[in-house]
């Protein structure tokens, strides 16, 4: 037998062949799906671009903040730092799933393929998926910055290499953390993950506290601004890659190509070094980690948390017995999958910090106008969180039943009941998180009671409406072949659901809470018309919410009843 070395780029060629085949299948059916995905992506990117362009214009022309100054530098630092933290978490979660739980991994580990190559292949996939949101959000913001500064073409040419170099670093760090955690604490990895989030949150909280302490300290304006900026440029920012990325792009926007390339080189070298460490760690510990994960605990795992199921069951006396069983089943599946609840936890913690920070920053001398706008903004952020929760976790619920769907299909329950069960589960979770956050925001901002009532109502409409949309569309556009929720979400149905959810969110925010906030912000005298505007807006919002529950669920139930399996 003549044997050669395993050819280079074997896994890349495999991925390319799979992508080519998937695209061929996609285009051979109908152009509606791929075109819709492309158009929606362009729409989101355009909206982010327009919003950012307006922001930079405001800073430049109205607030007279120099676009090449320290404040913009700090904002760009923060942008890269925030995206870096998100990449660290999302990359870590995706990498954990693809390295340790995917069926392909077991197949590849039984072949002579080197552990480092398996890791590299999985690392590239996870980084590409997690960097997608990074590119979609960060790209338009940075292009808008270039446009605002009338940057030369070299700036735009340097954007992709800066992106690629930067994303490698948090992804590599995430890989090292994942591989080490699985090796050192195979049984306690969930606890370690939770503690890690808590530590990062505590550090973030302390940092915010420090800034706010300075902000409330008063003193000379310029001095106070300098002190606050000092906190934003903490931890020896000169040595931080997010700082290099921000300053490198500012240099490029100013036409200083050499200065920009110097910083790009620094990021690229650091990222590649980070990747080398990650790959070295994987070569040593990846296969051992798989072994530890499989055998680090008792073979028969007895999951705890039965009290949570009992509490949920007791809390749903108004739901029929069978529907209650289905809700508890979905809840059990959700809470036993850390990849799902950890993301909800991370987003909730981030939004909580954002709310707390908003209150502190504007607490001193906050006028009713800003108070109203900030609370409306918080409501929007809470709505966006619910939209992400329903789009990311609720929409794939039915698809994830997948090949096991026959179990549910054969149950002696009406198929409509299945969807109502999923709707009840989804809306209960969305309501709990949404109401907690919006009440926290209103209490910290000391909002008047009519606003609090409107916000509570808005969250109810959003939670029920977005849940109805996601459950209904999940049944109309299921993807039973996929087992990975992130792939279901990024498919045609998931994208359509996200778009519908965002439009619904925008409409409800405008109708239900919009009139009150606009009146409060403009500080008009109430001549009776204003109250009517608020009431009519709220009524229209409620009607829209009811439609978002009833129409998609009826369509979904009809589709589910016709479904063959």
């Amino acid at each position: 037998m003549s044997r050669a070395a395993c050819p280079p780029f074997l896994m890349q060629r495999l991925r390319w062949a799979m992508l080519r085949n998937a695209l061929r299948t996609l285009f051979s059916r109908s152009l509606v799906r791929p075109l819709t995905v492309v158009l929606i992506t362009l729409l989101i990117a355009t909206l982010v671009f327009l919003g950012s362009a307006e922001g930079f214009r405001f800073l430049d022309q109205d607030a007279h903040v120099p676009l090449d100054g320290q404040i913009i530098g700090v904002l760009l630092d923060l942008l890269f730092r925030a995206l870096g933290v998100l990449l660290l978490f999302s990359g870590g979660l995706i990498l954990y799933g693809s390295l340790f739980t995917a069926p392909e991994t077991t197949f590849l580990l039984a072949t002579p393929l080197h552990d480092g190559r398996i890791f590299a292949c999985k690392f590239q996939g996870a980084t590409a998926v997690s960097a997608w949101a990074f590119a979609l959000l960060g790209g338009p913001i940075l292009v808008a910055y270039g446009v605002a500064r009338a940057a030369p073409w070299t700036y735009y040419a340097l954007l992709p290499p800066f992106f690629l170099s930067f994303v490698l670093l948090p992804a590599s760090l995430a890989a090292v953390i994942v591989v080490l955690t699985v090796n050192v604490w195979p049984r306690r990895r969930i606890t370690v993950l939770t503690l890690g989030v808590a530590v990062v949150g505590a550090l973030g909280g302390y940092w915010v506290y420090q800034i706010l302490h300075e902000a409330r300290g008063g003193g000379d304006g310029q001095e106070a601004v300098n002190r606050i900026l000092g906190h934003f440029t903490f931890s020896g920012a000169e040595l931080a890659p997010d700082h290099w990325a921000a300053r490198g792009l500012m240099d490029a926007a100013a036409g200083d190509v050499l200065g920009s390339l110097e910083k790009l080189g620094l990021i690229a070298i650091t990222s590649l070094f980070g990747y080398l460490i990650a790959e070295f760690t994987a070569r040593l510990l990846y296969r051992r980690g798989c072994d530890r994960l499989a055998t680090g605990g008792p073979a028969r795992r007895r999951p705890g948390g039965a009290w949570m199921d009992a509490a949920l069951t007791a809390g749903l006396p108004f739901v029929s017995g069978r529907t209650r069983l289905l809700i508890v089943k979905d809840f059990r599946t959700f809470r036993r999958d850390p990849r799902q609840w950890a993301q909800v936890l991370i987003f909730t913690v981030l939004v909580t910090f954002s709310i707390m920070a908003g209150r502190r920053v504007f607490a001193v001398d906050i006028g009713p106008t800003y108070q109203s706008l900030v609370s409306w903004l918080h409501l929007g952020v809470v709505g966006l969180l619910i939209c992400i929760y329903t789009g990311r976790f609720v929409f794939p619920l039915l698809s994830l039943e997948g090949r096991k769907f026959w179990i549910l299909g054969l149950l002696p329950v009406d198929r409509g009941q299945l969807l109502w069960g999923k709707f009840a589960f989804a809306s209960a979770g969305a309501l709990l998180i949404g109401e907690f956050l919006v009440l926290l925001s209103d209490m910290t901002l000391e909002m008047p009671w009519p606003a609090v009532l409107l916000h509570v109502l808005t969250v109810i409409v959003l939670a029920l409406g977005l849940s109805g949309l996601s459950v209904g569309m999940g049944a109309c556009l299921p993807s039973f072949r996929e087992t990975d929720p992130s792939r279901i979400v990024s498919g045609f149905g998931g994208t359509m659901n996200l778009l519908a959810g965002l439009l619904f969110l925008l409409a409800v925010l405008t109708l239900t809470a919009g009139p009150w906030h606009l009146l409060a912000a403009s500080r008009l005298e109430d001549d009776g018309t204003a109250a009517w505007a608020v009431l009519i807006g709220a009524a229209m919002g409620v009607a829209l919410g009811a439609a978002a529950v009833v129409v998609p669920l009826r369509m979904g139930i009809r589709a589910l009843r016709r479904m063959e399996f």
Partner: protein
């Protein structure tokens, strides 16, 4: 070709495989039997390097799976009970990928893929995406992929599940031919009739320990039963009996 020396594997406090010693020479078709949870899959995973023994040594072709796993895995093919196929590849692309991964030269790889397609009668569907394959088509493709690089050791876990009688017949002929051609076949199955017909030697494992190993005749003598393999198996794995150490220590006669 396959050597397990005092192999123990623990899952936390529970021992899945307990001091397993086994020698399987080249060209032998060895059947590995045991009740559910006896440690069969754990043993197979250690043979493939997917799990490491807590103590003891596992060798394939003389290579220690822990220290020289890559070399050992070059020699073997593993067909799990739920085999993996890339859904977005055609059968031919999958076979070519396997040939490339095992370092077969371009020409040799193409020739082997063509032979496998002919041997397993895949021509009709081999250029379709595997996501459209039926269970039988998937199983044939997986076996074709397992043999495309001419392994020295073939490890097969429950290969007959879901196959029609003709396919089972073809599979039995294939496994026998492989063993006769010098390939060591390690077959784990609950289909006792298949094992009885095919196996050169049979190992029975219960609660992690090898409680019987040898030809069917030897096992009959050990169990003091003059019946089918089913009778022998049920006698040796009777509930309540403490598993006894293997009379022959898992070494070939």
């Amino acid at each position: 070709m396959i050597s397990l020396d005092k192999v123990t594997k623990r899952y936390g406090p529970r021992t899945a495989v307990d001091g397993l010693t086994l020698e399987i020479p080249a060209g032998e078709l060895f059947a590995f039997l045991g009740p559910n949870g006896a440690g069969k899959t754990t043993t197979i995973k250690m043979l493939c390097g997917l799990l490491f023994p807590t103590s003891g040594t596992v060798r394939v072709g003389g290579f220690d799976l822990r220290t020289d796993g890559g070399r050992a895995r070059e020699l073997l093919s593993y067909v799990p009970d739920q085999p993996f196929l890339y859904e977005k590849l055609t059968g031919r692309e999958f076979l070519q990928f396997i040939a490339d991964m095992y370092g077969l030269s371009r020409d040799h790889g193409r020739r082997r893929v063509a032979e496998a397609i002919e041997l397993f009668q895949l021509a009709e569907f081999v250029d379709d995406l595997t996501e459209r394959y039926s269970h039988g088509m998937r199983q044939r493709t997986v076996f074709a992929a397992a043999l495309v690089h001419e392994p020295k050791v073939l490890i097969v876990d429950e290969p007959t599940v879901g196959l029609d009688p003709r396919s089972v017949r073809q599979l039995k002929d294939l496994l026998r031919r492989q063993a006769d051609g010098g390939v060591t076949v390690f077959l784990s199955s609950h289909s006792l009739d298949v094992v009885e017909e095919l196996a050169d030697r049979i190992g029975i494992v219960d609660r992690g320990r090898l409680i019987g190993c040898g030809t069917l005749e030897a096992l009959r003598r050990q169990a003091a039963v003059d019946g089918s393999l089913e009778d022998v198996f049920l006698k040796l794995t009777e509930p309540g009996d403490e598993p006894a150490a293997a009379a022959q220590g898992g070494t070939p006669p």
